[in-house]
């Protein structure tokens, strides 16, 4: 990223990317700019995905395709022009896509996935490849799916008529910046000494009328609700053997106790800070708990054995785990606090208590990180990134770790996990309309293409061949259902979607290409920026009913 001028005025690059930097920041943008995407198959859908990645500024792209531009391509692919007829599709598409953003380097290769895997395997060898992410657009014969490199994030896309799907494979994906709706963590049940002190200091004269040297109405109406709740929690505990209000009925009682203390002989008849306090009782009054996502990270074996080759992420995760273990299970504080009715100085004072605690927690974590790195003689032990540790601590309760099943495993006949997942989707209460049927039909298409060398429905005889093609597809579906252990007859939706896929005859609709191009690009961006949460591992889009469904297959 270009640096910001001292006056604060944005650079031209920041101006161009303003609307996206507000989502993923300089961090995300830097990662995007480091990516090199290889597209196998310059189809309309493939080109739409690249369009949506070139515009926000990925580093490089390479279009790999061995076909020539045909008239029919011009009716579906925006990144081919009439003047390109008869020329290599890879070259033409790369040129028109390249015009979208002068900051992105583009290239092409007149080649196919099969050829690359057989003749120039170095191109996809994790040790030598230039590509950081692979984008495969069907048709791809199934045997090739078994030969994909295991360490490069791969996005496998179908787009046929009104139906599309995306399958993601990536090595274990960890996310710090998941962008939850809120990072606020008030710790009302677990206040630390400085917070408790502030609360008792600022609420000392709370219930004393102004005439008896207590708070004025103005002061009373501007005590931040966080401090009100802390004070009334103390009162509550004294009359409840030290226990905070835990059950729903206790909280309801506590809530009315708070509202009873509100001054009502004031303009408007109520005090906003008390109303905010009452509103927060059900949501904010709880013991700080570690989220499922963060538990998965902290319990990952990678946290156990830190070595000199452990990634920074896992070293910090381990340090956070150590921190929590010696801190009654409490994670480092996020430090985030929402806006609330208060005077400026009172609010800032409270905010500083939260920020200072977050800062001191992060400093402790940093010390633990340093200890682990020194112990294992980690090569990065002298360049510990303080900002990365702060960012991690700020998001400590919102971490995610996603483990993906490989595409080869999905297509292997002996994968019991896969069978279980498909059977569960077929047997669920909502099975009838489930898009698992669309998945099965797409899988049958894949199988048909592999054995026939063409898409089902891709015939010149038009309507006549429809039924024959359907019989072939239905046989494949029956076999697959039998393999996963499904004992009933082929479900109706499976049949219908299969017919719809034959109807398309392997052809794309541009509208579906546009939708799939957007869906896939969003997921690629989430994986590259390591922000937001991508799907694991399959999404199906049904353009007839306009809906999606995700599966882990």
């Amino acid at each position: 990223m270009a640096s910001t001028a001292p006056s604060g005025t944005p650079s031209s690059k920041e101006k161009k990317y303003d609307r996206q930097l507000r989502l993923w920041g300089a961090n995300g943008q830097n990662r995007l700019e480091g990516a090199h995407i290889a597209l196998f198959g310059a189809t309309a859908t493939g080109c739409e995905v690249l369009k949506n990645l070139i515009l926000p500024g990925i580093g490089r792209f390479t279009v790999i395709d061995d076909k020539l531009v045909e008239e029919a391509d011009l009716g579906v692919n925006f990144f081919l022009h009439q003047d390109n007829l008869g020329q290599p599709r890879a070259e033409s598409a790369a040129a028109l896509l390249g015009e979208l953003n002068p900051d992105v380097a583009g290239g092409f290769r007149i080649d196919s996935l099969e050829n690359v895997l057989s003749n120039t395997p170095g191109l996809l060898d994790p040790g030598t490849t230039e590509f950081t992410h692979l984008l495969l657009v069907s048709p791809v014969p199934t045997p090739l799916l078994f030969r994909l490199p295991a360490d490069i994030p791969t996005f496998f896309v179908h787009s046929l008529g009104f139906t599309a799907s995306l399958r993601i494979y990536t090595p274990t994906h960890t996310i710090i910046e998941t962008h939850p709706d809120s990072l606020v963590d008030l710790r009302l049940f677990n206040p630390w000494p400085e917070l408790s002190e502030l609360a008792s200091e600022k609420t000392r004269a709370l219930d004393v009328p102004e005439l008896e040297d207590g708070m004025s109405d103005h002061q009373h109406g501007h005590v931040p609700y966080v401090l009100l709740l802390l004070k009334y929690l103390e009162d509550w505990k004294q009359s409840h053997e030290g226990h905070p209000p835990g059950s729903h009925s206790e909280k309801t009682l506590f809530k009315s106790m708070v509202m009873d203390r509100m001054r009502t002989n004031v303009p408007g008849g109520s005090e906003e800070n008390y109303v905010e306090a009452a509103r927060a009782v059900m949501g904010d009054l709880r013991t700080a708990e570690v989220s499922i996502g963060t538990k998965e990270v902290l319990n990952d074996p990678k946290c156990q054995d830190i070595t000199s080759r452990t990634d920074e992420f896992w070293v910090i995760a381990r340090a956070v785990k150590d921190f929590a273990d010696s801190n009654n299970g409490l994670l480092p504080l996020s430090g985030a606090m929402s806006d609330m009715k208060a005077e400026s100085h009172g609010y800032i004072a409270l905010q500083n208590i939260y920020r200072e605690k977050a800062h001191s927690d992060a400093t402790v974590v940093e010390g633990i990180v340093r200890g682990h790195m020194n112990r294992v003689q980690h090569p990065e032990r002298n360049q510990i990134d303080r900002d990365a540790i702060r960012l991690f601590c700020r998001h400590a309760n919102f971490l995610r770790r996603l483990k993906y099943c490989s595409i080869a495993d999905e297509f292997s006949n002996s994968n019991d996990e896969h069978k279980k997942a498909v059977l569960a989707a077929l047997g669920g209460w909502d099975a009838e309309g489930s898009l698992i049927h669309d998945y099965i039909a797409l899988r049958a298409y894949q199988e048909f293409y592999t054995s026939h060398g063409r898409a089902p429905g891709d015939t010149t005889s038009g309507q006549g061949g429809y039924e024959d093609e359907y019989r072939g597809i239905k046989r494949i579906i029956s076999q697959y259902l039998q393999d996963v252990g499904y004992t009933k007859s082929v479900p109706e939706r499976c049949e219908k979607v299969a017919k719809e896929i034959i109807r398309a005859g392997g052809g794309e609709l541009h509208v579906t290409a546009s939708i799939a191009g957007g869906i896939v690009a969003q997921e690629v961006i989430k994986i590259i920026t390591q922000q937001y949460v991508p799907i694991n591992n399959t999404v199906i889009f049904d353009g007839i009913a306009s809906r999606t469904q995700t599966f882990e297959l």
Binding site: G8, K15, L55, F78, L509, T548
Partner: protein, 465 residues
Amino acid sequence: MQRPAESPAAPKLPHETLNREPSTAGPSPAVPLQSSSTHTEQLPDIAAMTISDSPRWKYLNRILSRKGPFADEDYDTEMQKTFLDDFKVFGAGGLGCEILKNLALSGFKDIHVIDMDTIDISNLNRQFLFRASDVGQPKATVAASFVMNRVKGVTITPYYGAIQDKGQDYYMQFKLVICGLDSVEARRWINATLVDMVDNNNPESLKPLIDGGTEGFKGQSRVILPTLTSCYECSLDMLAPRAAVPICTLATIPRQPAHCVEWASMLEWPRVFEDKKLDNDDPEHVQWVYEQALKRAQEFNISGVTYSLTQGVIKNIIPAIASTNSIIAGSCCNEALKIATGANPYLNNYMMYIGNEGIYTHTFEHEKKPDCPVCGNLATDYTVDPEWTLEEFIDRLGEKPEVQIKKPTLVTERRKLYYQGPPQLNEQTRPNLEKKMKDLVDHGEEIAITDPGLPFSLRLNVIFS
């Protein structure tokens, strides 16, 4: 895993059959497939070809000429070649680039587009028909000529101006309207206009409206059949109004960086520059606001005021990315294609797409509001404290998210309650502002409200509490 929402069948369009009537022009003679070696010498007249004649539309034609298992019983594969020939569509808004591309590549041949904006550098991260050298040019004309050059045979007629510049006679020429507008006001206007155009004696007067919008990784698309299904106005209360910060917070007790920016732009600017309006697009103005906001923030020990935040607050910037636009515009045009051809059932009637955490779509039928001020027939009951002054009544009305009025004019059958203008009427009615409601209207009496922000007149039945 999410629960799939099988949406109920969409209601039938009254003119659905009309769409499918063969066009009066005879079919064009089939043109032999061009080989790559001759394509430069002998170009076919693509504009004159129907979808089914042209090798270019092989994939689209394959779908249209084969009946699918989800399509309507009466889907006619013989008639499909005429579906798109005479289907004039209208598009507008920030999703315009994507919409034009998608319509042109879905076989629509006669497309009209309106956009009042010129190209800004911050559009380039998603509005893919524009280049840095186009900055300052009108979006509508640049986009139209780009797509016409790329997709041969399509005619796109641009108009550089506001959608409100055109009247009902203009919109009557289209069969379908697609809007990816970013302003609530413009959407309410087009929605109210299309509802108002519906004439029950003329099925052609019902123009389906497809509306799309995005924010970050989220978006929505919906199909509105004016008067038949829920309209834009019916769902206005789904929009959470931006919580306004009380002026006294801005003026005396700022706590957030945004409070400092709003103080600088809303209070300090008018105080210092009495006669000059703040121009959000003028970098010098933004710089001034930023510097004032920063100073104020330092005074109150508030951290976080940046130039980017300043811009975001005063321009109310909504994050926008290419991929979400691609999804939503694709969805809108998918529905247009299905409506125009009947190739598959269309959306009934709302889809939300949420991509922040995994992918989640919510597809459902948004219900028509019986008392919708645009497509409903009745005046809405509105509870009023008889002791309120007219001014209080207006203030409370302004707080309602489903109304969103700014400068209303109010009348009843028997008297003018309050007029914003002209000056003599304003003067004449101004004293009413301090009068109590009970002295101005009767229980059950109807008040008609017009407002520059309202594309229709709002009718309320006063119910005294």
